[in-house]
């Protein structure tokens, strides 16, 4: 095989492999940006808020934090407080959003069977929550079994309960 032919063949292989690597990397970038939405989820940026709930229901880490339905952050971690037996939920809030001191955090469900998320309702206080602050007012997740139990209990305790029709 002459040297000229060898170099031609080598460069063709290089081009093919280069195309292959480029296509593979392009696919990885597509997975990161379009499927994984890396651009919209910057874990480094943003600040951290803490909220304590009596019961978080089925809330999971990485669940969205929404305000007026718009995603403004993520649930970073969930832990049980050893003294008060409350759930300690750390929220990572995107840096462009600020919330007043009297913001209410509640755990809601999107749709009937949907995932649970943390909803932040901003109040009227002029002071804003800073990184590491704790959200004072919280509302726990709605537990369907408890709700049904309460409903039955209140029905039974009504004065004319079990009355004849």
């Amino acid at each position: 095989m002459d040297v000229q032919g060898l170099t031609v063949q080598r460069s063709k292989i290089d081009v093919l492999v280069g195309l292959f690597v480029a296509a593979g990397l392009l696919a990885a970038v597509f997975l990161a940006l379009k499927v994984g939405n890396l651009a919209g989820f910057d874990t480094e940026g943003g600040y951290r808020l803490e909220a304590r709930f009596d019961n978080i229901g089925g809330l999971k880490a990485r669940a969205p934090v929404k305000s007026a339905g718009v995603v403004v952050g993520r649930v970073e971690s969930i832990a049980l407080d050893r003294e008060t037996y409350e759930a300690r939920v750390l929220l990572q809030i995107f840096p462009e959003h600020r919330f007043s001191k009297d913001t209410i955090a509640s755990i809601l469900t999107s749709g009937l069977l949907g995932e649970q998320y943390v909803s932040l309702e901003a109040g009227g206080d002029s002071a804003y929550l800073a990184s590491g602050d704790r959200i004072a007012k919280t509302q726990s997740a709605m537990i369907l079994e408890k709700l049904i139990g309460q409903f039955l209990f209140s029905k039974a305790s009504e004065p004319n309960a079990g009355g004849s029709k």
Partner: protein
């Protein structure tokens, strides 16, 4: 009676010792391949050539398989999800299945059949025709010259192929889900993007495929290099490569899945 029992026990013991011996030889061989890494990677042209043979030529089968797997997932997923009125979540279902499991695993299985078998047969035939011994006599280390480039070619090709598989799968699901069935394109993409996490899902999936690349590459070069120098030896090395690497991929996938996604 006693004779049969002793025979059976002897066969069992022999098989276990044989298997453990192969495992030990494979581990030592892995060390040998890693030991010549700097020499292999310095002559990257060799690795490039092998990436063409194993990677570039596997693109077509990976792309076509990914497309069809994605389309089938969309049809079947939609059938189940619409019972719960959740067909908008089709994008999530397809993307998570592909990125976490099907992309890396099916790619590795196809790669073992398409490229792993070829590597084993090639090296096995070199062994059978004494080419490897000839290289050793010329003071050329066949592990650095023949085995290393093929191993690293597989390791580098696998994650790239797995990423292509996943992307084509998502595209196939989009074709069926959005174009054919008529799911809203906005909720298809937005729910996918809200659920799939870059580090937890995409990077873990790519990490899986790198591990599969190491496993399939190692098994292929090991079986080829240690093939019996006969026609039957080459054929059994090829078969063993496909069987063992498929089982190894599925086993490793189970181990890594419990480790990565248990929470």
């Amino acid at each position: 009676m006693q004779r049969i029992v002793i025979d059976v026990l002897g066969d069992l013991g022999g098989a276990v010792i044989d298997g453990l011996g192969r495992l030990g030889r494979a581990a030592l061989f892995f060390g040998r391949v890693l030991g010549v890494s700097h020499r292999v990677l310095r002559r990257f042209g060799q690795v490039t050539r092998e990436m063409r043979a194993s990677g570039v030529r596997s693109v077509l089968i990976i792309v076509v398989s990914g497309l069809f797997v994605g389309m089938v997932l969309a049809v079947q997923g939609h059938d189940v999800l619409q019972r719960f009125g959740a067909s908008d979540s089709l994008g999530v279902l397809v993307a998570l299945s592909l990125v976490r499991e099907l992309g890396p695993v099916v790619t590795a299985l196809l790669f073992a059949g398409r490229a792993g078998s070829a590597i084993a047969a090639e090296i096995g035939l070199m062994r059978a025709t004494d080419q490897l011994s000839a290289m050793e006599m010329m003071a050329v280390d066949p592990v650095a010259r023949i085995v290393g480039p093929r191993f690293y070619g597989a390791v580098f090709s696998m994650p790239l192929l797995a990423a292509m598989f996943s992307v084509l799968g998502v595209f196939g699901a989009w074709l069926i889900g959005v174009r054919l069935i008529g799911i809203d394109a906005g909720s298809f993409w937005s729910q996918m993007q809200a659920t799939v996490d870059f580090r937890h899902d995409v990077l873990n999936g790519l990490l899986k495929s790198v591990v599969f690349g190491v496993a399939v590459g190692l098994i292929a070069v090991f079986e080829g290099f240690h093939a019996a120098p006969t026609a039957g030896g080459v054929s059994s090395a090829t078969t063993r490569t496909v069987v063992i690497s498929s089982l190894a991929v599925l086993f490793l996938d189970f181990v890594m899945t419990t480790w990565m996604f248990r929470g």
